[in-house]
């Protein structure tokens, strides 16, 4: 797995590439938690870009759920972006699509989260 985290104007983007299994899932969870906890913003938003993610195991999904809870605890939001069909399908099967929205790209995800924080709404991607 390759993981790159960068800060954008409206939040953080974590780019996850390759297979996210076993220790890599633990690492993903740890890095997302660190990013959320160390963010200077009062309500940090984070986008997990999974365009190049071959697959996530259940531990990797668990890492996303934990990150979703952590960011919510800080008043922020989390979403996926550029999810390929197999990841969208996995979210549907597990029903995690109910708590982790997915958007076509990073900019759309950040814009939607910003709008939601400001009281608006945007339509996520569906499988």
């Amino acid at each position: 797995m390759k993981l790159r985290i960068r800060q954008e104007e409206n939040g953080w983007v974590a780019q996850v590439e390759g297979k996210v299994i076993a220790q890599e899932s633990v690492k993903l969870g740890r890095k997302l938690e660190e990013t959320i906890l160390n963010a200077q913003e009062s309500s940090p938003n984070i986008v997990v870009n999974v365009a190049q993610t071959a697959y996530l195991d259940s531990q990797g999904l668990g890492a996303l759920v934990r990150a979703r809870q952590s960011v919510q605890a800080r008043g922020g939001l989390m979403a996926l972006s550029e999810a390929p069909q197999h990841i969208l399908r996995l979210l549907e099967i597990t029903k995690l699509s109910q708590i982790i929205p997915a958007y076509p790209n990073d900019a759309a995800a950040l814009k939607a989260m910003r709008a939601q924080a400001d009281g608006g709404a945007s339509t996520p991607t569906t499988a």
């Binding site: 297979k19 299994i21 076993a22 220790q23 697959y55 195991d57 759920v65 934990r66 809870q69 029903k95």
Partner: protein
């Protein structure tokens, strides 16, 4: 590690069944090797990349359950993997040295507040990826089956 070296010639219609077996200590660091072996085997059996990923992902879920819930992360205990290659299907068996469990008592991770849990989705994911997922009565041996591509 490349699995196909152990399985040549690959069985085709009418040929005999082949079984490949391996054992792994119960530690997270060995799971990628197990994944690579299963993925490599699936590709050698003409599954496409997506199909191979799905089979390998199911094997990872089974191995993680065996490691964490079965063997309780006791590195002195092994996870046994067997791949049974038949002309029309691939069967993966994963066995642990734990006390076993009742698969019927596993709760649906999609229901109610369980959606917020960070674990418990392994069996659901295996069922999504494979044609058949079953445990022996003791709950120590998992059997995963996928039809081979024609």
């Amino acid at each position: 590690m490349r699995f196909e070296h152990f399985i040549q010639p690959l069985p085709k219609s009418g040929e005999r069944v082949q079984t490949i077996a391996a054992a792994f200590p119960s530690a997270l660091k060995y799971v990628p090797a197990l994944e690579a072996m299963v993925h490599s085997l699936a590709r050698a059996l003409s599954f496409d990349e997506r199909g191979a990923n799905e089979i390998a992902a199911a094997a990872v879920e089974g191995a993680m359950n065996a490691l964490q819930h079965g063997n309780q992360k006791d590195i002195s205990k092994n996870i046994f993997l067997a791949a049974i290659v038949e002309p029309n299907r691939l069967t993966i068996k994963i066995k642990d040295e734990g006390a076993g469990f009742d698969v019927e008592k596993v709760e649906d991770p999609r229901e109610g507040d369980r959606i917020w849990k960070d674990s418990g989705r392994g069996i659901l994911i295996m069922r999504y990826y494979m044609d058949s997922v079953s445990y022996d009565p003791k709950g120590v041996e998992l059997t995963l089956v996928k039809k081979r591509p024609r």
